[in-house]
């Protein structure tokens, strides 16, 4: 039985469908991420799980018991708020001990669990400080310790890394994964950052306009996006307009206007004659000097249109003969030049059989 079962949940705000018939289940011990652009309904869903909002339709079951009508303070579900919401008039220790105090835990037990929780997030020396005396990363850890100290069934995290700078965010991502593994509590993480979703999660649910677009492990979502929205939202993607020619047992034969035949793409349900796009990730496209393409199929002429130097890689924009512009990556394996290919240089691009996913219109 799933830990949390969300069945056909809907929520409207006036004319806006914030959640439209959302169903999903979250297993115990999972690091589950809800990702989507702002306004996609992920925060609404989080607030409904926490109990701050009630769905207009559908139901939620926690450990098989319906959550409807149970107020937030009675749910074994805690939230780490985006602003951390640390109580400014209480010390770190008083903040972290707050849930235990609410639960009526004895003094000695509070002491013991407090030491444990502060040790867990490495803040034992900050116990007597006030929140305003802490750095952003430390506040974040206090919020985590406070939410974890009385061992909720479910921990909800509402964009907890959004307020941190990039370097710190990366470090805390690592800490979050380790922490979740250590305490074994189920995490439901909300973010608009696809990078965070991919880096942290066991499973990801991609949401858009109140609907679930796709649920799966990071490599499924990234490698086999189900539709254009998911392909485009998670990572960078090239969409090459194509038409299905032939469906064989293990791959598709596609036709791209102005280029010719493309083989080897994958799709869940494609029929001959169907129109759509071939979704190719920049790192799947290989750039070689004109005339050096080795693959027998899927190699096409192109011209370097532009490049963008990112340090570790350079992103090239290659215009194909039919006018479609693809993005491709080259790792900068030698220091020095910002690009190994000049603007206007004629090149070939190719990709392996099995690379690319066909998405119908």
């Amino acid at each position: 039985m799933a830990l949390l079962e969300i069945r056909n949940v809907s929520r409207r705000f006036g004319d806006l469908k914030a959640l439209d018939d959302v169903s999903l289940s979250i297993e115990a011990g999972e690091f589950f991420t809800l990702v989507g652009p702002s306004g996609c309904g992920k925060t609404t869903l989080l607030r409904i799980i926490a109990g701050f909002d009630e769905p207009d339709g559908g139901e939620l079951l926690l450990d098989g018991r319906p959550l409807a009508g149970i107020p937030p303070e009675k749910r074994p579900v805690h939230t780490v708020f985006q602003s951390y919401a640390l109580f400014p008039h209480l010390t770190v220790a008083q903040n972290v001990a707050f849930p235990l105090e609410m639960a009526g835990t004895g003094h000695a037990e509070i002491r013991r669990r407090l030491d444990e929780a502060l040790g867990l997030v490495d803040l034992a020396d900050k116990a007597r400080q006030f929140p305003h005396e802490l750095s952003g990363g430390q506040k974040q850890r206090v919020a985590l310790a406070r939410s974890l100290i009385n061992k909720p069934r479910l921990l909800l995290l509402d964009e907890p890394l959004a307020a941190l700078d990039a370097k710190l965010r990366e470090q805390i991502q690592g800490e979050l994964i380790a922490l979740q593994r250590e305490v074994g509590i189920t995490f439901v993480f909300v973010t608009h950052s696809q990078q965070e979703a991919l880096a942290l999660s066991h499973r990801i649910a991609v949401m858009n306009k109140g609907r679930l677009e796709q649920i799966g492990a990071p490599q499924e979502i990234y490698g086999y996006p189900r539709n254009r929205f998911v392909a485009d939202f998670i990572g960078t993607v090239n969409l090459l307009p194509v038409e299905v020619r032939e469906v064989t047992a293990d791959h598709l034969r596609l036709f791209a206007a102005g280029l010719g035949e493309i083989v080897g793409a994958l799709a869940v349900d494609a029929r001959p004659g169907q129109r759509g796009a071939l979704a190719l990730r920049p790192e799947q496209i290989r750039i070689v000097a004109r005339g050096e393409a080795r693959a027998l199929e899927n190699h096409f002429h192109g011209v370097v249109r532009d490049h963008l130097y990112l340090g570790d890689v350079t992103v090239y924009k290659i215009a194909l003969d039919n006018g479609v512009v693809l993005e491709a990556l080259l790792a900068n394996s030698l220091p020095g030049p910002a690009s190994f290919l000049e603007r206007g240089e004629a090149v070939d691009v190719d990709w392996r059989l099995g690379a690319g996913v066909f998405l119908h219109d």
């Binding site: 926490a50 701050f52 107020p71 937030p72 303070e73 009675k74 579900v77 805690h78 939230t79 708020f81 602003s83 919401a85 640390l86 109580f87 400014p88 008039h89 010390t91 220790a93 008083q94 001990a97 707050f98 849930p99 105090e101 609410m102 639960a103 509070i110 407090l114 007597r128 006030f130 406070r146 939410s147 009385n150």
Partner: protein, 284 residues
């Protein structure tokens, strides 16, 4: 630490000059309108009353004409102490009643929809649009037929009525700034409605409570119009006493002494409450 210090010095002499210029007007204002009058009062309290009011010359026939007579007078007669005590009691009662009435109101305004708040605040200060004395006379009309006039009750009612907005406004200003996420966090972590109020809202609103209490307590101490209009003969307060010395008994030195002692008492009280309300670190 060194970094922060060097950042402060980065502004150089230009910045400190600006700071000095900005703080100059309020400093001058306080010197001219608070410190100077207080010192004049202190000086007057050691002098002798003039024959027809005012003060007798400080130096007469080559001799200083100063004494501690008024202070001896004050501490020699229990009646003054009693009036002081009664005044503090009335002020405390008024402050407490204002707090109890104002808190729910301020909380309701702070939690109401944003577009309604300005209107509600306007309603709170609307009574100021009519004259203070007229509003007190209105209470005579209200309390007269009920046979409640000229009683301690009437004095307290008038005091509470007049000073209520001074409690509501600082409380509202404080409560309105509270981050709603704090209450959600408290609820999320297991706190019920009452606990959320007691553990989060109330402690965070203490500065507002202190500010409102000061704005009510101190003016009530010096108020003489309300006891005079609504109170009976036994209801006179320090304010009446001081006014009487200056306008009726023509004993300016005693009036000055009473004023000085009142100021000292208020400052002592403010000091004690600031000390009692200081932030503390305690273990959970």
């Amino acid at each position: 630490m060194t970094e922060r210090r060097s950042a402060r010095h980065a502004g150089g002499p230009g910045e400190s000059l600006t700071r000095w210029l900005v703080s100059l007007p309020p400093t001058l204002f306080l010197l001219v309108f608070f410190l100077a009058p207080a010192l004049l009062m202190l000086g007057a309290s050691f002098r002798e009353p003039g024959d027809f009011g005012g003060l007798a010359p400080a130096r007469q026939d080559g001799q200083w004409n100063l004494s501690l007579e008024t202070y001896r007078f004050f501490f020699g007669d229990w009646i003054y102490g009693e009036i002081f005590l009664r005044s503090f009691l009335v002020a405390a009662t008024t402050t407490l009643l204002c707090l109890v009435l104002a808190y729910p109101l301020a909380l309701a305004i702070a939690r109401s929809a944003k577009r309604h708040r300005d209107l509600l605040v306007l309603l709170v200060i609307l009574p100021f649009a009519s004259n203070f004395l007229i509003r007190i006379y209105a209470w005579i009309i209200v309390l007269g037929p009920a046979d409640l006039l000229y009683s301690p009750f009437a004095v307290i009612a008038g005091m509470v009525y007049v000073h209520l907005p001074f409690m509501i406004l600082p409380l509202y200003t404080n409560l309105e700034k509270h981050d709603p996420a704090l209450l959600e966090a408290a609820q999320d972590l297991g706190a019920g409605t009452w606990t959320r109020f007691r553990r989060i809202t109330l402690p965070l609103s203490l500065p507002g409570i202190w500010a409102g209490s000061a704005l009510v307590f101190i003016p009530v101490l010096g108020m003489f119009a309300i006891p005079e209009l609504l109170g009976g003969t036994g209801d006179i307060l320090v304010g009446n006493l001081i006014k009487e010395q200056f306008l009726e008994s023509r004993d300016w030195p005693l009036g000055a002494t009473l004023s000085i002692l009142l100021t000292i008492a208020v400052l002592l009280l403010a000091g004690i409450s600031a000390w009692a309300g200081r932030p503390r670190r305690s273990s959970p």
